[in-house]
């Protein structure tokens, strides 16, 4: 038994209420539909086993997102083959805040996300989902609030640069073809 009545009812409610958000999160983290499906499925299988740990249904979403991230990290550690760009120099790069806003394509965004190390990618994904506060993100990642804000600032800057450069390349190519 649990807060919904039976475990089955509770897990069904979790699937109905959070499947879509978890799948989107899994997709943005992993960058692949099959991995996203597998991760989302794994989350609910684990949730079914550990349902007794969820005392307050209001925390269900954060709880499930945390399970998903842990499952993802477990997989990534097992694979150990992913290479990411270094963000060491990002802080020194001037943010081009006055640049025109490019049209952001979902696939381009994923390509840019795939270049970010997970510790930067996770907060930026959760940030743009807009359902999570900085505090929520910090708790999910188990890091201080300041660390979250610092990583977010750098990750957002990298994303903006990446997407702006892509837009510039596209524009230049289009102009070049026209000449």
């Amino acid at each position: 038994m649990s807060w919904f009545g039976s475990n089955k009812t509770a897990v069904e409610a979790l699937v109905d209420g959070h499947y879509a958000a978890l799948y989107r999160y899994a997709y943005r983290l992993s960058g692949a539909t099959q991995a996203a499906e597998d991760l989302t499925q794994e989350v609910f299988l684990q949730a079914q086993k550990m349902l007794h740990q969820l005392r307050d249904p209001a925390n269900a979403k954060s709880w499930l997102f945390t399970i998903l991230r842990n499952a993802y990290l477990h997989r990534v550690r097992a694979e150990k083959s992913t290479r990411f760009v270094s963000l060491d120099g990002v802080a020194e790069v001037a943010d081009r805040g006055n640049a025109p806003v490019p049209i952001v394509d979902s696939a381009q965004l994923q390509a840019a996300l795939n270049q970010l190390p997970e510790v930067f990618r996770t907060p930026v994904i959760l940030y743009y989902f807009e359902d999570f506060s900085y505090k929520d993100i910090a708790e999910q990642m188990n890091v201080p609030l300041g660390t979250v804000m610092s990583r977010l600032a750098r990750a957002k800057m990298v994303l903006r640069q990446s997407l702006t450069e892509h837009a510039e390349v596209t524009t230049t190519t289009a102009h070049g073809e026209g000449i």
Binding site: Y19, L45, Q48, V101, F132
Partner: protein
């Protein structure tokens, strides 16, 4: 308010989920008016707001695979889809009804077990014990007639409905136990037949009896005396 606090509040201010306390908004506003660096940071933050909106929109643009949640539930609870379940229940019910119907039809139409003894004793068994039983049987067949009362019905071997003069009539067959004397009787109601009333010569093996509004035409084999054994 110092610059560190101002930058922190600025970071929170562009988040829908991080509403600033009204008590913090005015001090932040005063600080931005007095501090050119923080004002520039606020301006830059405002400038990238469009970026954030575009990235946020693209971030959430992930199509959800159709049917995945339902399949996941099946896996979690070891159930088949509701649609499958409905079909399976309907199919099972249909199969059960079919099986019961087929069994019933077979039961009704199943071959009757007949022993050799049944076959050997049948000719000795009477069909009806009296004329009233025969009348009742014929009435159920739609033939309202009166069978002849002069016969020993323990010797009755068959009751048939045959066509005579394009009309349905009853034909009763009596056989004596020694098989040497037999008689077939046609039952002809006077309301349907105007049969001859005179006696027929004895050597023609046919005898006519008129009784109670009926003509009984009796075709017999064997000696007349033997026939008398049949007749009461």
């Amino acid at each position: 308010m110092d610059c560190q606090d101002a930058r922190l509040l600025l970071a929170f201010s562009d988040r829908p989920s991080e509403k600033l306390d009204p008590a913090e908004i005015q001090p932040l506003q005063h600080h931005l008016e007095a501090c050119p660096d923080c004002a520039l940071a606020a301006e830059r933050q405002q400038a990238v707001r469009g970026f954030d909106l575009a990235i946020g929109s693209a971030m959430r643009d992930v199509p959800i695979p159709i049917g995945q949640p339902a399949m996941l539930k099946q896996q979690l609870f070891g159930e088949r889809p509701v649609l499958w379940k409905r079909w399976s229940v309907a199919s099972a019910a249909a199969a059960l009804i079919f099986a019961l119907t087929a069994s019933g039809v077979y039961y009704v139409n199943r071959p009757t077990v007949v022993t050799t003894n049944d076959l050997l004793t049948w000719p000795q068994q009477g069909i009806a014990s009296n004329a009233e039983d025969v009348d009742s049987f014929l009435e159920k067949q739609g033939l309202n007639v009166r069978s002849p009362r002069v016969f020993d019905y323990s010797l009755l071997r068959s009751v048939e409905i045959v066509e005579f003069q394009k009309r349905r009539v009853a034909k009763l067959t009596f056989i004596a136990n020694d098989e040497k004397v037999s008689a077939s009787v046609l039952v002809l109601p006077h309301r349907q037949f105007d049969a001859p009333n005179q006696d027929i010569q004895a050597n023609l093996s046919i005898r006519i009896i008129n009784e109670d509004g009926y003509t009984y035409a009796i075709y017999y084999q064997g000696r007349l005396d033997g026939l008398l054994r049949v007749l009461n």
